[in-house]
Subunit: 326 residues, 2 copies
C-alpha cells in the first residue's frame, strides 16, 4: 500500500514539475553569482510546500488562468531569502545536510542575494496588478523579520512561555504559509469567505508545520534531518517540548536542565539529560498533541468548500504535516 | 549673502520638518529594538535628499493631496535598509562620524532590521493602490542589491573601467534617486512625458551625487566627512578619480599605485602617493567635470516644465550636488 506521501506526490507530480521549472525561469538575475547562491538554497531538497499550497488554493477556488505557477515561485523566493538571512543570523553551519550558503559564498554575498530575492518576489507579485497581494506579501515579510528579531533577542531566554513561542512561530513560519493560501484564493478571485477560510487553513497548518519541525529537531535521526539533534537548543532557541517541560519539572530537574542549556556547547551527555527529561515529562507528546489540534482546525476551515479533488489534496497535505519524518 | 545651501533650506524647511515627523510616525515596528537600530542610521545627519526630491517632483507636477510626506519616507527607509546591509557587507566601522549599527547591535539584528525596512517600504507604497509604484520600487531594490553584489565581486579589481563603474553607481545610487523623482510624478498623476523627464532628472543627479561622493572620499577633511580619507579604496572600491588615472599613468606610476592599493592596510605614506598621482594626472578634475555634465543633463530635462517655484528648487538642488562639502 502506498503511504500518504506517495499518494500526494502522485497527484501533484505535474504541478511540482511546473513549479521547479518556474523557479529557474523567473529568477532572472543579471549576475550569475546570484543564481549560484539562490539555487544552492532552493535546490537542496526543499518540499515546495508554499508554492504547492498557493497553486492548490487557487485551484480549489476555481482558478483557470496560467499565472499560478509563476506567482507561486514568489513564496519559495521569499522563503529562500529568509533561509539565507536566518542562517547568517543564527550562525548555522548546515542545512539539509549541506553547508549553508554563507559558509561557501561568504556573509556579504549571502545577505545581498537574500535582498535580491525579496525584491524579485515583489516584482513578480506586482505582475498580478493586485495591490491586495502586494499588501499581504509586504506585511508578511515585515512580520517574518520581526519574528526573527524577537527570537534573536530572546536567545537562551529560559522564561519564554508557550504564548510567546506561538507568537514567534506564527511570525516566522505560519504567516508565509497563510499568505500562500490566501494569495492563491485572491488570484482566483474567490469570495471573501473562501479567502478567509484558506488563510485560516494556511495559518493552522503553518503552526503545526513548525511544531513538527521543532519536535523533529529533538527526535529525528541527525542523518535524515541533515543537521545535529538539538540544533535549535544549541542556537539558544527554546521550543515547545522544552518550554512545556521547564514549566512542569521539579526544581531539581529544572536546575539540571538549566545547567545543561546554559552551557553553550553542551555535550552529548548534557543533551541526553535534556532528552530524558523531555521524555519523562511528556514534552514531545504534548507538542505533538498540539500539532494535531492545529491540523484539525486547518481541515475544518475547508468545510466552506464542496468536496473536490483539490480540497481532499489540501486535507491530505494537512495530515502529511503530522507524519513527516524530516 | 546666503549660500545656495541656506537658500534651499529656507525654501524647504517646512517640508523637511514634515518629512522628519513622517519618518518617525510611519516606522511602526512591534519591537522597540527595530526603532533603535533604524533611528540610529536614519537620524544621524542624513540629508533627506530622496524624500525631498519625491515631494518636490510631485509638487512640480501639480500634486495637491496629502499623501506625499508619508510616501516620501519609503525612499528614506529603503536608503536606510541599504546602508545597514551595505555597512555589514563592506565591513565598515563608521558612518557620518558614528559607529555603524552592526558594531553596536551586532550583525544579525542589523540584517533583520534592514529586512524590516524593505518590507515596511513596500507596505507603505502599497497604500497608494498604484501597482506602477510597486513595480518601480521592487525593480529598484533588485537593481540596488545586484549593484552591491557586482561591487563586492569586483573588490580590489584594478581592471574596472569607466563604463562598469558608471553601471555600479547607477545601480547603487542613481536608481533610487531616479525612483524618488519618478514616483513623485506618478503620485501626482503626471502625463508620461513629465514622468520620464523627472526620472531622467533623478537619474542624472543620482550619478552626479555619487561622483561627488567618490570625489569627497579623496578630498574632504576626514573630520567633516565623518570617516577616514580614502575609505573607499580601503574597502577595495575603485572610483572614477583613480580609474581615470590608472588608465593614463605611465607604467611606472601605475605600478606604484597598484603596489599601494594591493596593500590592504595601506599606510598614510601610500595614501599620499596615490593622492599625489591622482592630483598629477587630474583624476579629481576629470571626475568633477563629469559630475558637471550630468548636472547639466539633469537640469535640461526640467525644460518640459514651465517656470515655477518647485522647478527652480529642483534646479538649485542639482547645483547644490556639485557644491556640497560632505
Amino acid at each position: 500500500m502506498k503511504d500518504l506521501k506517495e499518494e500526494i506526490l502522485d497527484s501533484v507530480r505535474q504541478d511540482l514539475a511546473e513549479i521547479e521549472e518556474a523557479l529557474v525561469e523567473n529568477l532572472k538575475p543579471h549576475i550569475p553569482f546570484v543564481s549560484h547562491v539562490a539555487k544552492h538554497v532552493m535546490f537542496s531538497g526543499g518540499k515546495r510546500l508554499r508554492p504547492l499550497l498557493m497553486v492548490l488554493s487557487a485551484r480549489l477556488c476555481g482558478y483557470q488562468g496560467d499565472f499560478d505557477k509563476r506567482l507561486s515561485v514568489v513564496f519559495e523566493y521569499l522563503h529562500a531569502a529568509t533561509l539565507l538571512h536566518d542562517d547568517v543570523v543564527d550562525g548555522a553551519e548546515v542545512r539539509r545536510g549541506n553547508p549553508v550558503a554563507h559558509s561557501i559564498w561568504g556573509t556579504p554575498g549571502t545577505i545581498l542575494v537574500g535582498d535580491f530575492l525579496l525584491a524579485r518576489s515583489i516584482a513578480i507579485a506586482a505582475e498580478t496588478d493586485r495591490i491586495a497581494i502586494i499588501n499581504i506579501l509586504s506585511h508578511t515579510t515585515a512580520q517574518m523579520s520581526e519574528g526573527e528579531i524577537h527570537q534573536l533577542l530572546h536567545r537562551g531566554d529560559l522564561t519564554l512561555d508557550e504564548g510567546e513561542y506561538l507568537e514567534v512561530i506564527r511570525r516566522k513560519t505560519a504567516c508565509l504559509i497563510e499568505a500562500s493560501c490566501q494569495v492563491g484564493a485572491l488570484l482566483a478571485g474567490a469570495p471573501e469567505e473562501q479567502v478567509r477560510a484558506l488563510a485560516q487553513y494556511g495559518y493552522n497548518i503553518g503552526i503545526a508545520f513548525q511544531l513538527m519541525d521543532d519536535i523533529l529537531d529533538y527526535t529525528a535521526d541527525a542523518e535524515i534531518l541533515g543537521k545535529a539533534t538539538g540544533a535549535d537548543l544549541r542556537e539558544g532557541k527554546l521550543t515547545l517540548p522544552l518550554i512545556y517541560v521547564l514549566n512542569r519539572a521539579t526544581q531539581d530537574d529544572r536546575t539540571r536542565m538549566e545547567r545543561a542549556i546554559g552551557d553553550q556547547k553542551f555535550s552529548k551527555a548534557q543533551l541526553d539529560t535534556i532528552l530524558d527529561l523531555i521524555a519523562r515529562y511528556g514534552g514531545i507528546a504534548y507538542a505533538r498533541k498540539q500539532a494535531h489540534v492545529y491540523i484539525d482546525q486547518a481541515k475544518s476551515h475547508l468545510d466552506v468548500f464542496e468536496a473536490s479533488k483539490p480540497r481532499s489534496l489540501l486535507e491530505d497535505l494537512a495530515d502529511y504535516v503530522l507524519s513527516r519524518k524530516m
